[in-house]
């Protein structure tokens, strides 16, 4: 479904990504793990055309999307939740969700249904529907960011560190919901520093060292892999 072929990205003199190959198949949860500064967010930005690639190509459903700007990708079926929550702080929860459905604007019935669906997944949001998003707690903002990206009805969802800065029980909940969304047919590329949790929900995983893929395997095997355990799973 999504394929990166030897993608490199440079920030001036620094090569942040070099020759990255990565594939996400329909229906999968694929996770990209790696230490801070490994280039995980850069990978997402490269897919979304927010940083130019210096070489390589990116394909989605057989079509080349290298350097296509993010707003066009949403129409193609790729929704992205950028790093950090990046919710619209001065707008209400409902307005944030409506903007998430921007590419479907005018389809009132669909939007109403999808908002109900988001509230089913995140009941805490439904109690705060008319509250301005900036006043939500960190966990609620993360839920809103997630709900908002679902409103586009994406085929592929790119999530950059959804667990960042959340209390452990909220992390559990977010990953639970990622699994649920996936069961409904959304393919997911999940970027995480929290390797243990990510490997537990994912089908396959890529480990990013500084700028290049070190290992890729099924999540199950990586969880058992001693090197990976030593480097990323702590203890």
């Amino acid at each position: 479904m999504l394929a990166l072929r030897s993608v490199s990205v440079r920030y001036g003199a620094i090569e942040a990504l070099s020759q990255v190959d990565l594939e996400v198949n329909q229906g999968e949860i694929v996770t990209l793990i790696g230490a801070n500064g490994a280039g995980k967010s850069t990978t997402i930005r490269a897919i979304c055309g927010q940083v130019p690639t210096s070489s390589g190509s990116i394909h989605f459903e057989g079509r080349e999307i290298t350097r296509t700007p993010a707003h066009r990708l949403v129409h193609a079926g790729i929704a992205q939740s950028p790093e950090g929550r990046r919710i619209f702080a001065n707008m209400t929860v409902r307005e944030n969700l409506e903007l998430g459905a921007f590419i479907h604007h005018g389809k009132h019935e669909q939007i109403r249904q999808d908002i109900d669906r988001v509230f089913q997944l995140f009941p805490r949001l439904s109690e705060r529907v008319n509250q301005s998003a900036g006043t939500l707690s960190g966990g609620e903002q993360q839920m809103l960011a997630m709900g908002r990206s679902l409103m586009a009805r994406p085929k592929l969802l790119l999530r950059d560190e959804p667990s960042l800065g959340l209390a452990p029980f909220l992390v559990q909940q977010i990953f639970q919901i990622i699994r649920e969304i996936n069961k409904e047919g959304v393919t997911i590329l999940l970027v995480e520093q929290n390797a243990y949790q990510a490997l537990r929900v994912a089908h396959r995983a890529y480990v990013l060292g500084t700028g290049s893929i070190v290992v890729s395997d099924t999540a199950e095997r990586l969880l058992a892999n001693e090197q990976v355990q030593a480097a990323y799973l702590g203890e």
Binding site: R72, A79, R86, F88, E98, L99, G100
Partner: protein, 341 residues
């Protein structure tokens, strides 16, 4: 269909009410006060139109006088220089005073708006690459460029200005009708925009451009649209000014005018339509009504500005709007608070 009928009815109702108010005010206000009222109307349009760019879309543009000038000069140039030529060659257009004048004014509005909109695109394009204070400097610079270009066109009088523009908007109730009709138009547009998903995208660009992009919003298009619409309205304000005061000169549209319009938007609360309208009235009328203070006038005026900004750093209304619900809430709370021991 019913929706359309309701809309039409609302618009007609507003115009009828406006016509009545125009008649009443022009009959009862003294000439000087009426003049200030018209100036307020022009200022309100300028402030509300800059609010579209600066407040709602968050592009810190501060050279609004440039668009105001483009509209005023191109609109007036049409009426004074080009319209007579056209009429001479097309006898069909030699209409009597009321119909002919209205037609000439409508065309002046269209060409003035178009000229300002084109200038808006030219100034808006850098906003795609620049933000914040850098954008501010570029817009201010462009505003000056427009003024200097006008200064050097002899056909429109250069530094002397362009005089003898016919008072096509009339002087009494008709002028009020035109000018405040324009105010209503820009306010209606702002309000409708804020209520639609498309309008939300303008706010989204102000809030977080990267997130807006991730929602599928073409942020480039939003920014250019805001510049085009905002400038076009400033241009029409210029057309009104020119055809009411009958003479324009480049020094009316200088940097100080740009700064006053920016102040209106900031003082009103960036993004708040009602705030920018009220600030436009205050900033236009107050210096006039403080004239009896003579030399102290501007000192008092400036001090008041500083005090407002210190006490309300978000502007008078912050991001909010005046609404009856809020007023009720405010006074309700006051009353409840007063009842407590």
């Amino acid at each position: 269909m019913r929706w359309l009928a309701l809309r039409t009815l609302t618009v007609l109702g507003c115009l009828a009410a406006l016509a009545v108010v125009s008649k009443l005010l022009s009959a009862n206000l003294d000439t000087y006060v009426f003049l200030v009222v018209i100036q307020c109307g022009v200022a309100m349009t300028l402030a509300a139109s800059l609010n579209l760019i600066n407040g709602i879309t968050g592009q810190f543009s501060i050279g609004h006088a440039g668009f105001y000038a483009a509209g005023a000069y191109v609109g007036a140039a049409w009426t004074v220089l080009w319209q007579p030529i056209v009429v001479r060659h097309v006898p069909l257009l030699q209409l009597g005073a009321p119909v002919g004048d209205t037609l000439t004014l409508l065309i002046a509005i269209v060409v003035g708006a178009a000229a300002a909109a084109v200038a808006g695109v030219v100034v808006g394009l850098p906003s795609l690459r620049l933000r914040g204070d850098y954008l501010a400097i570029v817009t201010l610079g462009f505003g000056e460029v427009i003024r200097v270009v006008i200064l050097n066109i002899d056909a429109v009088g250069g530094a002397r200005g362009l005089t003898g523009i016919p008072t096509l908007v009339g002087s009494g109730d008709l002028a009020f009708f035109w000018v405040f009709g324009l105010v209503l138009a820009v306010v209606a547009l702002s309000r409708n925009l804020m209520r639609t998903t498309r309008g939300l995208t303008w706010l989204a660009v102000r809030e977080d451009e990267i997130a807006a992009d991730a929602m599928g919003v073409d942020t480039t298009r939003v920014k250019v649209s805001a510049f085009v619409v905002g400038s076009a309205f400033a241009g029409v304000a210029g057309v009104m000014y020119a055809h009411y005061f009958t003479s324009i000169s480049p020094d009316v549209f200088g940097m100080d005018m740009s700064i006053i319009i920016t102040t209106m938007v900031v003082l009103g609360g960036t993004g708040s339509v009602s705030g920018s309208l009220l600030a436009a009235i205050v900033l236009t009328a107050l210096p006039e009504f403080l004239r009896f203070m003579q030399d102290y006038r501007m000192v008092i005026f400036s001090t008041m500005l500083v005090v407002v900004m210190l006490t309300r750093p978000q502007g008078m209304f912050g991001h909010g709007e005046i609404s009856f619900a809020k007023l009720k809430q405010l006074f309700g709370r006051r009353a409840a608070g007063g009842a407590k021991p």
